[in-house]
């Protein structure tokens, strides 16, 4: 689903919560997934203006879970390890933002090319 304004963030959270519930995640983890979507979508709106969020069920052997892929075609991040450090962005200083998402989720992957946009892929498995 496209993300370009704050109202889209709410929609994405709603859908994420629904899909996570279908995957059998606990009610606390539903909120965790919604939070990850919030932070990822917030980044898109703030730094890239627009992009999209794709939600997917994933399986790995006996594990079941949800995958959130946030993609934008914004300016990209020139130094990803730096951007992943706490305190790099305004929200990062408190441990929020991308570093916060990494710590909340079970898997985290980021690909960014300077000038070509950024893709963040995160997963949360059913416990």
């Amino acid at each position: 689903m496209p993300v370009g304004a704050d109202v889209d963030i709410v929609t994405a959270r709603q859908k994420g919560r629904e899909l996570a519930a279908q995957c059998g995640l606990s009610s606390t983890d539903l909120a965790v997934v919604a939070t990850a979507i919030s932070e990822l979508a917030r980044n898109i709106v703030r730094y890239a203006v627009r992009g999209e969020i794709v939600l997917r069920r994933v399986e790995n052997g006996t594990k079941r879970g949800i995958e959130v892929v946030a993609t934008d075609d914004g300016p990209g991040i020139s130094d990803v390890p730096l951007a992943m450090q706490d305190g790099y962005s305004t929200s990062g200083g408190l441990g929020l933002g991308l570093p916060g998402v990494r710590r909340l989720m079970d898997e985290f992957d980021i690909v960014s090319r300077f000038g070509k946009g950024t893709t963040v892929t995160v997963k949360k498995w059913r416990r």
Binding site: V10, T11, S27, S91, G95
Partner: protein, 434 residues
């Protein structure tokens, strides 16, 4: 409840009411945002609990039926999770930071514990705050026994005034890069230590001193051995100079007297031939005297470095044709060891120039700079690659090494400026006072 908390509580309660009115995700997002704001304002989890409680009470009071009541409780539970998630992220960050800190602390501790140099910290009043195990290995004292004691008790009494001045200088960020002090060991002997120290600051305020002390007994021994060796060499050279000047000179004088006797008994043409031989003998005597003076110039002892160097330059000029000028002078007499060292260095340099430089001119210049004496020796020869010459083990490398070591023993330094094709300048700096 302060105004910030009040405002957040109002926003949170409004969102909870919205949720109860069926506005769903947008209200949950607001709960999350309030949590985020609360965290960003520097408030804590307990403040969030206060906000939560306030909203819970307000909404429960409006519930008219048990069903509405349990709906409210379920909503409140969801809200609490949302609003706590920012705190959870922050909490996990702190956990991660703590693990990283512990790891980094362990690495540094290993470094300090295993270092062979003593690593210590002092408080601003000079009491010892920490010592690593190297302290015990070096001094024999138990480190724990010295914690809280005044560091001056570990310093040689003669070094104490200087140690106190250095301590203040370090606190004010004005200490020299390294300094030497003698450390008292358990056995009562003193260990020569080389120190590096810096002030420790906390929030811009100086809170103490961090230092490293190294046992330089071996280096001191080597320097002393070199000094003795040089002294022995000087004595030996003096003996040879004496033999050349006095003993050989006396023999030559006797030869003169005998020849004069013989000349009287000979016919005049033969006597003239003998006169030529006496002329040659005079030249030999002159050369012997000169050689003897260069070996151990009495002029150095009697008149000092300036005249001795003029004499040396004159001799070398005459032998080799080099134009040598001596400009400036050390002004006053230097410590004897320094004068001898400088004389030998200039001698060695002039030998080098004669052998390798293909120079036509050499300029020796003295300058006093406060308590330091600067001596520059510059030639217009072919020059050389300084780095290659000082790192290779050739004869010239050794010559420079010898100069360097002589200077170290006299507390001086050597700088060499040279490049192939552009001449050579050696700059020697030594303390001008003992």
């Amino acid at each position: 409840m302060n105004s910030v908390l009040e405002e957040l509580a109002t926003e949170y309660t409004a969102a909870l009411r919205d949720y109860l009115d069926g506005r769903g995700e947008i209200a949950l997002q607001q709960a999350y945002d309030v949590g985020r704001k609360t965290l960003a304002k520097g408030l804590g989890v307990l403040d969030m609990a206060t906000i939560q409680h306030r909203a819970l009470v307000k909404c429960l009071l409006k519930a008219h039926t048990p069903r509405e009541g349990s709906q409210t409780l379920r909503a409140v539970k969801k809200f609490f999770v949302e609003s706590l998630l920012p705190f959870e992220m922050s909490h996990r960050r702190i956990q991660e930071v703590n693990v990283a800190l512990r790891e980094s602390e362990r690495r540094y501790r290993d470094l300090v514990e295993n270092a062979r140099d003593v690593i210590y910290t002092l408080s601003t009043d000079g009491t010892i705050r920490s010592l690593n195990p190297a302290f015990e290995a070096m001094t024999g004292w138990s480190g724990a026994d010295w914690l809280g004691q005044e560091f001056g008790r570990l310093i040689h009494p003669d070094d104490l005034p200087r140690a106190a001045a250095l301590f203040q200088a370090v606190l004010h960020g004005q200490a020299p890069p390294t300094f030497e002090l003698r450390i008292r060991s358990l056995s009562g002997s003193y260990i020569p230590g080389e120190f590096v120290a810096t002030s420790q600051t906390q929030g811009g305020r100086v809170v103490g001193v961090l230092g490293i002390a190294r046992d330089i007994t071996d280096r001191k021994r080597a320097e002393e051995a070199l000094l003795h060796l040089n002294e022995a060499l000087e004595a030996e050279v003096g003996r040879i100079a004496h033999a050349l000047h006095d003993e050989a000179g006396q023999l030559l004088a006797s030869v003169h007297i005998v020849l004069a006797d013989i000349a009287r008994e000979l016919p005049s043409h033969a006597s003239r031939r003998l006169q030529e031989v006496r002329g040659l003998l005079d030249k030999i005597e002159e050369q012997l005297r000169h050689l003897s003076h260069e070996l151990r110039p009495t002029i150095l002892d009697d008149l000092g470095l300036g005249p001795a160097l003029e004499f040396l330059a004159d001799g070398v000029s005459r032998r080799t044709g080099l134009l040598i000028s001596v400009e400036g002078s050390p002004d006053k007499r230097l410590p004897a060891a320094t004068e001898t060292a400088l004389y030998r260095i200039v001698q060695e340099v002039l030998t080098n120039v004669t052998k390798h430089a293909q120079a036509t001119r050499v300029r020796i210049r003295f300058q006093r700079d406060g308590r330091l004496l600067r001596c520059s020796i510059r030639d217009n020869g072919v020059g050389f690659d300084v780095l290659a010459a000082t790192t290779r083990r050739g004869s010239r490398g050794l010559g420079l090494l010898g100069i360097q070591e002589r200077l170290n023993a006299a507390g001086g330094t050597l700088n060499i400026h040279s490049a192939p094709g552009s001449g050579t300048e050696l700059v020697i700096t030594t303390p001008a006072e003992a």
